[in-house]
Symmetry: C2
Subunit: 364 residues, 2 copies
C-alpha cells in the first residue's frame, strides 16, 4: 500500500442511538464505516471513512457466487473513566491475513488496519455504550468484487469495517447452556477451510444448528470431519473441559478456528498455574470422564460471550449433566478476569489492552 | 408465492454485443436481469425483469459475512433455424432447491423459475450468439440479504438470474488436459456442503487450483475428505473413467455435486448399451488399472465444457498418461451427441430440450 492516508467524509445526519438496555447483537450500526479497495496491480488503496451506506455491487461480483470472503470480530469497551479500549486487536488482523491466505485474498497491512479501526471508532466514539456489559462490536471483512463468473481468485476486493453497539451477553448472570453433540453434519475437515474465518464455514453450520434448536439445544458441539469422534468446537466458540483437575482444549489441527479468547484463556490458566493442555479429545473420553465423575467443567470461549458454560452435553441420546448444570469455578474466574481486563477494572499483566486514543480524534 | 406475474421494465439503452469470436466466459452480461425478493412472512414476491444493474446491499447483509447462498449454471443454445433452446433446465431448478435446503434457504417454485428464465432469455434473445459452439450462459443465484450479523438463516433473500454470452469452449478441437491429484486440500466431506452448489465450496477450492496451475496443471482431481483415497470430482466437473471396457464414475455420496451433464452421460451410455456403473473408485485402483494397461479413457463432465478429456493424471509424482494423451472414442462420442442435442442437430430421444418459445415473447 502506497498511500496510507485515510480520507474522511463525515455523515451529515446522525442516526438515533438505541438505548443501552435494548441493544441487540448485530442489528444497529453506527454512522460511519471504513472502506478500502483492492485492485490488480494497484494493491490496496482509497482508504476512507464514509457515512454508513449500502454497497453498490455488480450482480456478477464474485462474492455472490463463489464465496471468496473473510471476516473478523472484536470489540471496543468503555472504561469507568470514559476511555475506549480494544482487546488484543493485533490478533484479529493477524488471523484475518491467515484466513485471507487460505482464501487466496491479498493480505492487508495489519498495522494500518489497526490504525483504521482506531480512527473509525474514534469518529463514532459516542456509539460505544457505557452500561454494564455493553460494548461496540467491530466487524472487519473482505469481499471479492470482480464482476466475473469464472472460478478463480478475484482481482478486486473491498475491505470494510462496520460497527454495531451490543448489549450485555448475560443480563441475568451467566447461564449454562445445553449443547447437542453433532454426528450428522460436519463444519470443517482437515484440508478444508475450518481454520479460516470465512463465510462458507458459517453457511455450512446453519442446518445442524436449526435441527438441534428445535430440540431445545443452544448450540451443537462439532466433531472432526474425518472420524466424527474428536471434539472440535462448540457453535462459533472454542471449547474447554476440566477433567480431573486439568483443563483441556482441542489442539489446533487445521480445522479449528484459533480463537483469540481461546488463546487468552490458555495464557490466563498458565499464569495462574492451573494445568492446561491442548490435545485431541474424543467424545468417548469425555463420556468416560463423566461416568467416572471427573468431568468437572465445560465451557465455550469466544468474543461474543467471552465464556459460555456448558451445563449439559447430549451425545447419541445420552445426557451428561456437568457440574450440576451450574457455572464452574474456573469458568467464572476466567470470565471475571477477561471481562475485568476488557473494561479496565482489573490489572492487565499481558498488555492485552490497546487504547483508542481520543486525543487523535478528528474534530467534528 | 401468491403473485406469479413478472413485472417487466425494459432497458432504455442497449449495450453493444461482443463479437462471437471474442466472447470470454462470464465477463459480458446482457441488457436485463431477473430479480425476485423473499422476506418473512411474505415469501417470494416482486418478480421482475429489469435492466441489468448493480445491487444496492447493506454492508451488514448476511451474504457478505456468512456465505449463505446457492447458484446454478445452465445454457441457452441457438439452433440452425434460429430458435433458442435450453438443456434440461428442470434439473437445475431441482438441484437449486436441494442446495437451498442444505443452506436453510427457502425453496422457489421450480416451474415459475423456469418460466422466468424463458421470459428473460426471450427479452434478451438477440444476445444468444449463433457462431459454432457459442451459447448464452444462464446464472440463477440466491443470496441472503438480511442486514444482521447473527449466525442464523437470513429472513431476506434475493433470487437473481443474469445472462452472459459465451464463446466456444474448444476453438481448435477438443484438447485433453493435465490434471493433478490433490492430496493436501479437500473440497468437501461427508456431512458438509459438497453436494450443494454453494459459494463456500468454490472458495475452498481456489488455493489448490492456484498451487497446481503454477506447475502447469489445468485442474485438480479431488479426493474424499475422510480418507483422501477415493476419487470425487475434477475441478468443477464430475469425472468418468473407462476401465477395461466399463465406464465408471464416483457414486453420489453426499460430498459430490450431482451434475446434470454427469446424469446425461450415464443415460446416454445406458441407451447405447455401454456398461456404466456408479461406485467408489480409489486412486490405487486407477493406478493399478493404468499399470495394467486397462485405464482406457478419463474425462470430466460439466455444463461449461460438456466433456473435458483427461490426457494425463499425476498422483504423488507419478504421471499416468491416458489414451496416449488423446481424446478417447467414448469421450468424443458423448461430446458430439450431447452438443448435437443441445444445438438441435441430432435427435433428442430423452426429451432433454426445452424450447424458449419466441412467440411468448414480450413485444418491444
Ligand atoms: C468458528 C469459531 N470458533 C471460535 C470462535 C472464537 O474466536 P474468538 O475468541 O477469536 O472470538 C469464533 C469467533 O468468534 C468462531 O467463529
Ligand atoms: C463442483 C462441480 N461439480 C460438477 C459440476 C458439473 O455439473 P453440471 O454438469 O450440472 O454442470 C459442476 C458445475 O458445473 C460443479 O461446480
Amino acid at each position: 500500500m502506497e498511500d496510507k492516508t485515510i480520507r474522511l467524509q463525515l455523515s451529515e445526519t446522525k442516526k438515533e442511538k438505541p438505548n443501552s438496555d435494548q441493544l441487540i447483537f448485530g442489528r444497529a450500526f453506527t454512522d460511519h464505516m471504513f472502506v478500502m479497495d483492492y485492485s490488480d496491480p494497484l494493491g490496496w488503496h482509497n482508504a476512507s471513512i464514509v457515512p454508513y451506506q449500502p454497497l453498490m455491487i455488480d450482480p456478477s461480483a464474485m462474492i455472490f457466487h463463489y464465496g471468496q470472503s473473510v471476516f473478523e470480530g472484536l470489540k471496543a469497551f468503555r472504561t469507568a473513566d470514559g476511555e475506549v479500549q480494544l482487546f488484543r486487536p493485533q490478533k484479529n488482523f493477524e488471523r484475518l491475513n491467515l484466513s485471507s491466505d487460505r482464501l487466496c485474498i491479498p493480505p492487508i497491512d495489519e498495522e494500518f488496519a489497526l490504525k483504521a479501526i482506531k480512527q473509525l471508532v474514534t469518529v463514532d466514539k459516542e456509539w460505544v455504550p457505557d452500561a454494564e456489559g455493553t460494548s461496540l462490536y467491530i466487524r472487519p471483512f473482505i469481499i471479492s468484487t470482480e464482476p466475473y463468473l469464472g472460478v478463480a481468485p478475484s482481482r478486486h476486493y473491498k475491505f470494510i469495517v462496520i460497527l454495531s453497539p451490543v448489549g450485555a451477553y448475560y443480563k441475568e448472570g451467566i447461564n449454562p447452556v445445553k449443547i447437542a453433540v453433532e454426528n450428522k453434519y460436519v463444519r470443517a475437515v482437515k484440508g478444508g477451510t475450518g481454520e479460516a474465518k470465512t463465510g462458507g464455514n458459517y453457511a455450512a453450520s446453519l442446518k445442524a444448528q436449526e435441527d438441534v434448536s428445535k430440540e431445545g439445544f443452544a448450540q451443537v458441539l462439532w466433531l472432526d470431519g474425518v472420524e466424527q469422534k474428536y471434539v472440535e468446537e462448540v457453535g462459533s466458540m472454542n471449547v474447554f473441559f476440566k477433567i480431573g483437575g486439568e483443563v483441556v482444549t482441542p489442539k489446533l489441527n487445521g480445522s479449528i478456528l484459533a480463537g483469540v479468547t481461546r488463546n487468552s484463556v490458555i495464557e490466563l490458566l498458565k499464569h495462574w498455574g492451573i494445568p492446561v493442555s491442548e490435545r485431541r479429545i474424543s467424545m468417548e473420553e469425555l463420556y468416560q470422564a463423566h461416568q467416572d465423575g471427573l468431568l468437572e467443567e465445560a465451557f465455550g470461549s469466544g468474543t461474543a460471550a467471552v465464556i459460555s458454560p456448558i451445563g449439559q452435553l447430549t451425545w447419541d441420546g445420552k445426557d451428561m449433566v456437568i457440574n450440576g448444570g451450574n457455572t464452574g469455578e474456573i469458568s467464572q474466574k476466567v470470565y471475571d478476569t477477561i471481562t475485568g481486563i476488557q473494561y479496565g477494572k482489573v490489572e492487565d499483566p499481558f498488555n492485552w489492552i490497546v487504547k483508542v486514543e481520543a486525543k487523535s480524534a478528528v474534530k467534528h
